[in-house]
């Protein structure tokens, strides 16, 4: 079952709930960075200025640069779920993954191994949605199988499926 996040650009209000819900779920202290971030975009100038927001976490790339660069092979993509996961027993904290990730997803808390969004895979395994999706006040964030998300996207033009780098190979 290939999972993904969807994001409805027209609905996000930049309320930051997803950022904090992720911290609460993963016990990330307030002085560190959540696995999820929200970026505010200002468009236009007075009187026609508008705001837009984008929420970002690990894109679980199919051709993940972090996995490709990891010297210890600690990062791999689970074929079945499409989740890119870190084996903490193998990670040496060298931060090579952070250098190559185009989305700034890997987190290194001092003295610790790499951590990042893993789709709340344990919740998903129990039929629950990721913490950020559950809390989203505007229902901008969605989660599901790629098949479900494609169907939703077909119904509404402002919906995007978050897909990271994809392999061009077979």
């Amino acid at each position: 079952m290939q999972y993904g996040f969807s994001f409805d650009l027209s609905r996000c209000s930049g309320c930051m709930a997803c950022v904090v819900a992720c911290m609460d779920e993963n016990d990330i202290p307030g002085d560190r960075s959540s696995f999820r971030q929200v970026i505010k975009l200002e468009q236009g100038a007075y009187p026609l200025a508008k705001l837009a927001f984008v929420t970002l976490a690990c894109f679980q790339c199919s051709d993940a640069p972090c996995a490709n660069v990891c010297p210890k092979g600690a990062i791999s993509r689970e074929e079945e779920s499409s989740i890119v996961r870190v084996d903490e027993a193998l990670c040496i904290g060298c931060r090579a993954c952070a250098m190559v990730c185009p989305y700034g997803a890997p987190r290194f808390f001092p003295g610790e191994k790499m951590k990042k969004c893993d789709f709340c895979h344990d919740r998903v395994a129990q039929g629950m949605e990721p913490a950020c999706v559950r809390t989203c006040t505007t229902r901008a964030l969605g989660f599901g199988t790629l098949e479900e998300l494609s169907r939703k996207q077909g119904e509404k033009a402002s919906i995007r499926i978050f897909k990271g780098l994809e392999s061009t190979g077979p």
């Binding site: 930051m16 709930a17 911290m23 007075y46 837009a52 809390t135 989203c136 006040t137």
Partner: protein, 715 residues
């Protein structure tokens, strides 16, 4: 420090699945951090007596599983290191923060003895009771105050919501929220529901996607702006002029509801000839909104049936001309025939704690245990007679003045529930006033700077640690059960209230019966009981709530002196004030005081919401504070460029009263000429920029949202 350990000991999220054998139990409560319309139902994951995770309750119709950034940070609120742990008695000078722990019994006895002796020496009116945020204990405090004998019960609502209520009541006698579900057009006047009421916005967006037209009025760009068909970015403080400009177009183009106006309004001709001077071009000159945009908005609002008006609790009335401005804009609801109609503004009688849902308990009857005529005159009753006529409280903005003047009688003691002196304009003036009291008690969650001024400080607990009653607009109710026992020696505010009732209001027989018996008494007309509600820990929908009909005025008239909607107010005329909702400039604006404005050419507006904060309530939570660590001032790129200011620069923000230093944020969120800053930080104190008497003369509300200012770069 049970709490901080709870956040750090168990790093593995794998332990947060509420599955068999995990030892995790999901218990239900509500988040009570923000305003009563948006208290979300929470699923608290409890393991070994500790809350290890929170999320929104999915089956509840109000929040449907969601929580905003504030509610999602609830564990840091609950287990915060600044929580007060025991009752405290002051040892050092006021404000020195030197306290010693004392027992509850001793603390309550000291308070009881002092209050009884002040009542004997100076009369009960020398004691003022005050409630800040949150509001859940208000009816019980008000009854305690009146049973004690003082008319001086006051609240944070002296700067929030009540002025809008008075304005609408002067016009209509009652008012109602927008019926968004059935509306074709929504006029949103200076409200940002995305950050003020985040539990409601998913439904607003659904309505928009179904074709709801949206008109936004407000100087700032908000998340709503991208959804608005028209956005009128007016100069702060000019709402009244803009409303008159819209009214003039609606009348002159014949778009008003003739049947309603002819049969159900008082003073239409007078109003019509007054608003005639607000031509689109003149209105543009006053408000800064292009005349064509005003025409477009007026036609869209008047021609789309039905249309609803959404206002907020304070942006339109935080001006020295705010009450009349708010009358002017709510007048549009009557003019277009959208009052008390489906899809317009639908009137539902008051419910419990500001949330109407069709159930009508005996809240007002409960609160007013003694008639006004059996008590001394209320504080500020003469200064703000019209506000005092409609709001059964004392106007708290007058508190520092009466503490100082001791006229017409002294205020010797204040019992505060969550009091924050920084809420007052000229907050340093309020701080010094509190120092002059003979006796000051503050009951709070956190050891705030206001607590440091108190003689006795009592530790309250959060919504996770108590039982409370909550109504939801969706027709449901909840009586919460504590998800954990109160931490340390903290107790629910109601414990304090009913313990004090034994000591200072022994004649009040009902209060001697305790909290739950009092809730049952209040709920009696609804048929609800604590016992029944307790069976539904996540709340439940009450069957068979009878909603009132539309257009109630057709049967019984309007509850105004004339029985009609009053475009010219009988009450204001009798009080010697302008009967029409006349537009006046803010007391200090670039127009009203041009000489002073030469040195202060910009307009300061304060207090619009950031998504992670509400007032001062979540500053001390690391998760939310980390999202916006430093106070910042929003300045338009044009004004910033003229002053050589870039984002991150330290700047001075000056008003005629004083100046503060803060970091600049250069942004298109504010229009040119306007400076926006969030309030409530301890440093700098934004409210020191305002004079303590920079108040609307009718409502007593501070002019927090329009004052002249200047910004300069500091090195």
């Amino acid at each position: 420090m049970a709490g901080n350990q709870a956040l750090r000991t168990d790093k593995s999220p794998r332990s947060k699945l509420p599955i068999e054998g995990s030892g995790i139990e999901i218990r239900h409560t509500i988040c009570a951090i923000c305003n009563p319309f948006s208290h979300c139902v929470i699923d608290a994951y409890v393991k070994d007596g500790i809350v290890i995770k929170v999320e929104g309750n999915k089956s509840h119709p109000h929040n449907g599983g969601t929580l905003c950034s504030k509610g999602a940070a609830s564990r840091e609120y609950l287990y915060n290191k600044d929580r007060i742990r025991t009752p405290l008695r002051r040892k050092g000078e006021r404000g020195s923060d030197e306290f010693e722990p004392i027992s509850w019994e001793e603390a309550l006895d000291v308070i009881g003895d002092r209050l009884n002796s002040i009542r004997a020496d100076s009369g009960p009116e020398a004691v003022a009771f005050y409630v800040g945020y949150t509001k859940w204990m208000r009816p019980f405090v008000k009854r305690l105050a009146h049973s004690f004998g003082t008319p001086n019960y006051c609240t944070e609502s002296s700067t929030c919501y009540t002025a809008t209520k008075v304005a609408a009541q002067l016009n209509f006698g009652y008012f109602g929220p927008p019926d968004i579900k059935n509306a074709g057009c929504l006029l949103v006047w200076s409200s940002n529901p995305f950050y003020s009421n985040p539990s409601t916005v998913r439904k607003l967006l659904d309505a928009r996607e179904r074709g709801l037209k949206i008109i936004e009025v407000g100087p700032l760009v908000t998340p709503l702006s991208a959804h608005a068909d028209v956005h009128l970015r007016l100069r702060p403080g000019s709402s009244g002029a803009l409303a008159h400009g819209i009214a003039n177009i609606i009348i002159e183009e014949g778009l008003f509801d003739r049947e309603f106006v002819e049969n159900w309004t008082l003073g239409f001709e007078e109003y019509r000839s007054y608003v005639r001077q607000f031509s689109p071009e003149k209105t543009e000159k006053i408000t800064g909104v292009p005349a064509d945009s005003i025409r477009r908005a007026a036609r869209l609002y008047a021609n789309t049936k039905p249309a609803a008006l959404m206002v907020s609790a304070s942006p339109t009335v935080h001006h020295t001309n705010g009450l009349q401005n708010h009358r002017a804009l709510t007048a549009l609801v009557g003019l277009t025939g959208n009052f008390d109609r489906k899809g317009g503004n639908y009137v539902v009688p008051p419910g419990w704690l500001y949330v109407p849902n069709g159930l009508v308990p005996r809240q007002t009857q409960y609160e007013q245990s003694r008639a006004w005529s059996d008590m001394a005159p209320r504080m500020a009753g003469e200064r703000f007679p019209v506000w005092s006529r409609f709001v059964d409280e004392a106007q708290a903005m007058h508190l520092p003045f009466q503490i100082r003047s001791q006229e017409p009688y002294p205020i010797k003691a204040v019992i505060g529930f969550g009091m924050n002196y920084r809420m007052w304009p000229g907050s340093d003036f309020m701080y010094q006033s509190l120092k002059q009291l003979d006796f000051f008690v503050n009951i709070d969650l956190f050891r705030t700077d206001t607590c440091k001024l108190a003689d006795i400080v009592l530790p309250a607990c959060t919504s996770f640690e108590r039982s409370e009653l909550k109504f939801y607009q969706e027709g449901s109710v909840i009586w919460t059960t504590p998800v954990i026992e109160p931490l340390w020696e903290s107790r629910p505010d109601t414990d304090v209230i009913f313990e004090l009732a034994k000591r200072i209001a022994a004649d009040d027989e009902l209060m001697q019966k305790g909290y739950e018996a009092n809730v049952d008494w209040i709920l009696e007309p609804t048929g609800l009981t604590v016992e029944e509600m307790r069976k539904h820990p996540a709340g439940y929908n009450v069957d068979g709530i009878k909603m009132p009909p539309y257009e109630k005025y057709k049967k019984s008239g309007f509850p105004t002196p004339s029985g009609k909607m009053e475009l010219a107010s009988t009450i204001l005329r009798d009080a010697g004030l302008d009967a029409l909702p006349t537009y006046k400039e803010p007391m200090l604006s670039p127009v009203s005081n041009q000489a002073l404005a030469a040195d202060f050419p910009l307009i300061l507006t304060t207090g619009s919401r950031l998504p992670m904060y509400i007032h001062s309530r979540t500053f001390r939570l690391p998760m939310t504070r980390g999202l916006h660590p430093d106070p910042t001032l929003d300045i338009n790129p044009k004004d910033a460029q003229e002053r050589g200011i870039s984002t991150g620069d330290r700047v001075s923000l000056a008003t005629p009263r004083t100046s503060i230093k803060v970091k600049a944020n250069v942004t298109e969120v504010v229009p040119p000429g306007v400076i926006n800053i969030f309030h409530g930080y301890d440093n700098p104190e934004v409210n020191t920029l305002f004079e303590p008497d920079y108040l609307d003369p009718i409502s007593g509300f501070p002019g927090f949202k329009s004052l002249i200012c200047q910004v300069e770069k500091v090195d």
